[in-house]
C-alpha cells in the first residue's frame, strides 16, 4: 500500500474546519485503544475524561481557569507560527512573567492599593517580553536558530524560578517550605463569580483573542504576518521587513505568555512556588495548531485541551489512570491534527501494491 499526495489548486475550505474534527475523533478512537490496553472500560474512561468535567458548575469554572493561560499563550504562538517564527520557549516566558509580577507583589506585600495588581500585570508582560527578546534578537541579528535558543531559555527560567522560590522569594516565616508569602488581597486576581476560581485572566484571554483576530484580518500588519509565513520572498518584494516581523511575533507572544504567567500566579496559585505550570507553554503549541492558528479558533482549542487536564485529573482519582495518559492524549492529538491538515492542501490517494514500482537507489 502506498500513499500518494496530489496537490489541490486551492486549499480546501471545508477541510480546514473538518480536519480538526477528524483529528479529535481519531484521538478518541486512539483513547479507546489505550484504555483497553490498560484494562479499563473504555466508554466509562472516556466519559470520565471528556464528559463528566462538564457536569458540574465548579468544574466548568476550573475548565476556564486552565483554558485561560492556554488561550493567552496559544494566541501569541499562532502569530509566531503564521509568520514562520518558531517560538518554542513560551513556557519560559510564562515563568519569567510570573517571576517579574511576583516580584512586584512581594515588594509591596501588605501595602493596600488599586495600582498594585495593574503594576504586577505590566511587570509580568515585561518579564515575558524580555525573555522572548533574547531569541528574537539573536535570530534577527545572527540568524541563530530560535527553536533551540528559546527552548534552552525555558530550562534556565525553570531553574531560576526554583532558585527564587527556595531563596530570595521564600517566606521567612514559612518553616522553610519552598514557597513565598501568600499574596495580599490587593495583589490577587479578582474572581469573576462565586463558587469557583474563575478570574479576571479569562477576560484578558477573550479580549486578546478579539484584538489579535482584528489585527490579523483587518490590518496591514495582519497581512504582513500571513504573507511572511506563506511567501517570504513576496513579503520581501512588498517591502516588509523580515527582522521587524521576528521582533513583532516574538515580543507579542512573549508578552501574552508573561501576562498568562502572572495571571496564574496571582490567580489560582496565589503565591510563588518552585513550579507554577504543568507545561502550559508546551500544550499551547497544540492549542495553536488545533485552533487553526486563528485567535478565535484558539479559544475553542484551549477549552478542549483544558478538558484533557481536568479529565486526566478525574481519571487519576477515580480510575487510577496515571496522569501521563493526559500528555499522551495531547501529543497524539497534535500528531493527528498535522496528519489531517494534509487533507487541506492535498488529495490523499491510497494505491495498492500493484502501482508503479519505484526505482530505488541502490544501497
Amino acid at each position: 500500500m502506498r500513499i500518494e499526495l496530489e496537490a489541490r489548486g486551492q486549499p480546501s475550505v471545508l477541510m480546514t474546519w473538518l480536519s480538526p474534527v477528524i483529528a479529535i475523533l481519531l484521538t478518541l478512537l486512539f483513547g479507546v485503544l489505550m484504555f483497553v490496553l490498560m484494562g479499563q472500560d473504555p466508554i466509562n474512561a472516556l466519559y470520565i475524561y471528556f464528559v463528566q468535567p462538564l457536569t458540574s458548575a465548579y468544574q466548568i469554572q476550573e475548565l476556564i481557569v486552565i483554558a485561560t493561560p492556554l488561550i493567552l499563550i496559544g494566541i501569541g504562538l499562532s502569530i509566531c507560527f503564521l509568520s514562520n517564527n518558531w517560538n518554542i520557549g513560551a513556557e519560559g516566558q510564562f515563568v519569567m512573567g510570573g517571576v517579574a509580577g511576583s516580584w512586584v507583589a512581594l515588594t509591596f506585600h501588605g501595602v493596600d492599593g488599586w495600582w498594585i495588581l495593574p503594576l504586577m500585570m505590566v511587570a509580568g508582560i515585561i518579564g515575558g517580553l524580555l525573555w522572548a527578546l533574547i531569541p528574537a534578537f539573536f535570530k534577527a541579528r545572527y540568524n541563530t536558530n530560535e527553536i533551540l535558543t528559546s527552548l534552552m531559555l525555558t530550562y534556565v527560567a525553570l531553574q531560576f524560578l526554583d532558585y527564587l522560590a527556595r531563596g530570595p522569594f521564600r517566606d521567612p516565616d514559612g518553616f522553610n517550605f519552598p514557597e513565598s508569602k501568600i499574596f495580599s488581597p490587593s495583589a490577587t486576581m479578582p474572581l469573576l463569580s462565586d463558587g469557583g476560581r474563575m478570574h479576571l485572566g479569562a477576560i484578558f484571554a477573550v479580549v486578546a483573542a478579539i484584538v489579535i483576530a482584528i489585527m490579523l484580518w483587518r490590518t496591514i500588519k495582519g497581512f504582513e504576518v500571513k504573507i511572511s509565513g506563506e511567501a517570504p520572498r513576496a513579503a520581501r518584494f512588498a517591502g516588509f521587513n523580515e527582522k521587524s516581523m521576528i521582533y513583532f511575533s516574538f515580543l507579542l507572544s512573549g508578552s501574552l505568555a508573561g501576562l498568562a504567567g502572572i495571571s496564574e500566579v496571582a490567580g489560582p496559585i496565589g503565591q510563588v512556588l518552585p513550579v507554577i505550570s504543568p507545561g502550559y507553554g508546551f500544550t499551547a503549541i497544540i492549542v495553536a495548531f488545533l485552533g487553526r492558528l486563528n485567535p478565535i479558533g484558539v479559544i475553542f482549542a484551549g477549552l478542549l485541551l483544558a478538558l484533557t487536564y481536568i479529565g486526566g485529573e478525574n481519571a487519576q482519582i477515580m480510575l487510577q489512570i496515571p496522569d501521563d495518559a493526559t500528555s499522551v492524549f495531547q501529543g497524539i492529538l497534535l500528531f493527528l491534527i498535522l496528519a489531517c491538515d494534509t487533507l487541506v492542501r492535498y488529495k490523499v490517494k491510497i494505491t495498492g501494491f500493484s502501482s508503479r514500482q519505484t526505482t530505488g537507489g541502490e544501497g
Binding site: 541563530t144 527553536i147 534552552m152 530550562y155 534556565v156 494534509t342 519505484t358 537507489g361 544501497g363
Partner: protein, 306 residues
Amino acid sequence: METFIAILLTIVSASTPLLIAAMGELVVERSGVLNLGIEGMMIIGAACGFAGAVMSGSVFIGFLIGIIGGAILSYFFAILVLNFATNQVATGLALTLAGLGISGLIGKPFAGITIQREPIEFLSFVNDIPVVGPMLNGIDAIAYFGFALLLAVAWFLNRTRAGLILRAVGDNPVSAHTLGYNVLRVRLYAILFGGACAGLAGAYLSLYYTPFWAREMTAGRGWIALALVVFASWLPYRLLIGAYLFGAVTILQFHAQGAQINIPQQFMASLPYLATIIVLIAISAKQTGRAIHTPASLGRIFVPDR
C-alpha cells in the same frame, strides 16, 4: 590521580548519549529532514530499555528494546513527514510531546526500581598499562560502540555510494528524484537510523548512566544533541568535540556543587543550557549565510510528482 581518572570517566559517560543521539540526527539532517523529536525518542528509548531490562533480566536485551522503541517512534514521524508531507518542525514537536507522555505510561510500573549497573567493561587486559590502562578499561562498551559508530557514519557519508546518494537527497531532492532515486525511501532509512540512535542514547541513560527510570530523565539532552549537530556544522568528527565539551560542562557542574562552591545549585544546573545558547550564538555570528555543509534542502517538504 584516581579521582582524575574517575572524573574523566564520568565525562565519557555523560558525553556518550549526546554523541550517539546527535550522530543519528546528523544522518537524518544530511538527508534533508529535520527531526526535532530526539528528546521524545530518547525518553522512549530510556523507558523501553529499562522496562525491557527489568522484565528480561538482561541489560543487553534492554538496550535492544530501547533501540527498537526509538526506531518505532521515529517511524510514525517518517509516515507523517514523508507520506503526509506535514511540517517537520511541528511534527517533531508532536513527537517529543507524545514521547514524553507514552514513556511515562511505560515507565510507571518500573519507577523506584534500580538495576545492577553491570560493568560493561571488556578491556580488562589493558589494566596493567599505567595511567592509560585503567582509563581505557573503565570506558564502557557503549561508549566504545559510539566511537565505532562515529567512524562508520563518517566513512558511510564520505566514502560510500549510498552516503553520496543520501547527501544528494538532502541537498537537492528534485534532482535525486529525477535521476531515479527514491527520495522518500532514503529519508525513511535515515529517520529510522536516527530513531534507533536516539533510542540507544536514551537506554544508555536509564540502564547505565543513572541507572534507574525517572520521568523526563532526559532533561533536555535531546535538544542539546540537536544543537550539537549545528555546532558540528553537519560534520561527524566535530560532533565528538561538541559532545565532550558538553559532557565536561555537565560533569564540572556536578563537581562544583559537590565542592561547596558558594553558587546556587540552580545556576550550576542551568550551565549546560546557557553553554548551548552561547555556542549557538557564537557559531551563527561567525558564519555569514548558511554553512557550506548545511544540507541545502533541510526542513523542506518534498512531494514526488510520480
